[in-house]
């Protein structure tokens, strides 16, 4: 890690070239690997868009494309490349996005992290970083996007809201950041979010036509409706919903109770921390929302 420019309190260090090098090494090692599980979903989606084929298909079984249709359109450049070069670019892009996210994480942290804390955090996160790269997941891009959205919330609210809308169209649990935007009174950012969501849902009609766009949106909703409930209690799911299934009772009732109890606990703890330290309210709520994204999501993502 290289030290960042001195912070007002003289202690805060941001991750630097050392972390970027680590992320790029992880990206390149995994770009060369044969394993492509999750990445194949994104590559296939891009190919289907280019061929004019249906995005959402029952035969995709364990690896369905679950994201908004516009995300499929944005993946067209990925699908235009052969699998290996596409995966290489995907991994490098993911490394850069994760680097942006981890720098923003250091800005949000309190107390201010030192170089040693940044290095230790990288060690603790290493298994998860490896997981993202080895599967070719999209989460690095989403974390980078929400980090940049947060960073630009005041200076570039329109761009900030549009970036945020892309994360929501990919994974709806990113809507929890509405809490952070309300606390910080980011009206223009929220307006840009709404505009981005409307554009993301409507603009694909320019490609597919209004009728077919509606059909594709219905197909997206059907995929989510079909695949989400069966995963509420899956062992791989680690959200509040799944914790509820394990400890509060089986099925939807236990899952919903877990989600309610967990969300209330998180909201209560966040409110307490904000009340105890009002000067850091905005960063506290943003940090809490980041943690909540996975925990409140029915699927644990």
């Amino acid at each position: 890690m290289t030290p960042a420019p001195p912070a007002p309190n003289g202690l805060r260090a941001l991750p630097g070239a050392g972390l970027l090098a680590l992320l790029l090494v992880l990206a390149l090692v995994n770009a060369a690997a044969v394993r492509v599980n999750d990445f194949r979903v994104f590559h296939t989606a891009g190919q289907r868009v280019l061929r004019g084929e249906a995005l959402y298909r029952a035969e995709d079984a364990a690896y369905p494309f679950k994201y908004a249709p516009v995300v499929g359109l944005l993946l067209a450049p990925v699908g235009a490349l052969p699998l290996r070069p596409a995966k290489l670019l995907w991994e490098i892009g993911s490394a850069l996005a994760l680097f942006a996210f981890l720098r923003q994480a250091a800005r949000l942290a309190a107390p201010a992290p030192t170089r040693a804390a940044n290095a230790l955090a990288a060690v603790l996160l290493l298994p998860y970083l490896w997981h993202v790269f080895s599967l070719g997941q999209i989460d690095g891009f989403l974390l980078g996007a929400i980090a940049l959205s947060d960073r630009w919330a005041d200076r570039r609210p329109a761009l900030s809201g549009l970036l945020w809308s892309l994360t929501v169209l990919t994974k709806p649990p990113y809507l929890v950041f509405v809490a952070a935007a309300l606390v910080a009174r980011q009206g223009r950012r929220l307006a840009a979010l709404v505009a981005g969501l409307a554009a993301g849902l409507g603009l694909p009609a320019l490609v597919w036509g209004w009728g077919q766009n509606l059909e594709v949106l219905h197909a997206w909703r059907a995929v989510l409706g079909r695949t989400t409930p069966e995963l509420f209690c899956a062992s791989s799911n680690q959200s509040f919903w799944a914790i509820g299934c394990r400890y509060l009772g089986p099925g939807l009732a236990g899952a919903a109770a877990g989600a309610a109890v967990g969300t209330l606990a998180l909201a209560g703890a966040t409110a307490w921390a904000v009340r105890a330290a009002p000067s850091g309210a905005r960063d506290t709520v943003t940090s809490s929302c980041l943690g909540a994204t996975a925990l409140v999501s029915p699927l644990g993502w």
Binding site: A121, Q238, I243, T270, A277, S287, S288, L290, A292
Partner: protein, 88 residues
């Protein structure tokens, strides 16, 4: 990974001599839990053991505990120094 800001706060609390003793104890326990979970994630234990812990929802519970701990230690630090360098 989304917990990174909170995890950094926990680690920073551990390294601050001026942090209250209770805050450092809470941070140490949370970091130990996260380290244990990270070791399980690294697949250094037998598959059956990993699945046993997975069924107990060890990731989710550790994440919740770390989040609550990080929020608890975040507040007292804010009284004496700036919370952020961000220009957001």
């Amino acid at each position: 990974m989304a917990l990174a800001p909170l995890v950094l706060g926990l680690l920073a609390t551990l390294s601050r001599a001026e942090a209250p003793r209770w805050a450092r104890a809470v941070a140490a326990a949370a970091v130990a839990a996260l380290a244990g979970v990270a070791l399980l994630t690294a697949e250094i234990v037998p598959r059956d053991t990993f699945v046993f812990w997975l069924n107990l929802r060890h990731y989710g519970l550790a994440a919740l505990a770390a989040t609550l701990a990080a929020l608890a230690v975040r507040a007292p630090r804010a009284y004496s120094q700036p919370m952020t360098t961000s220009s957001m």
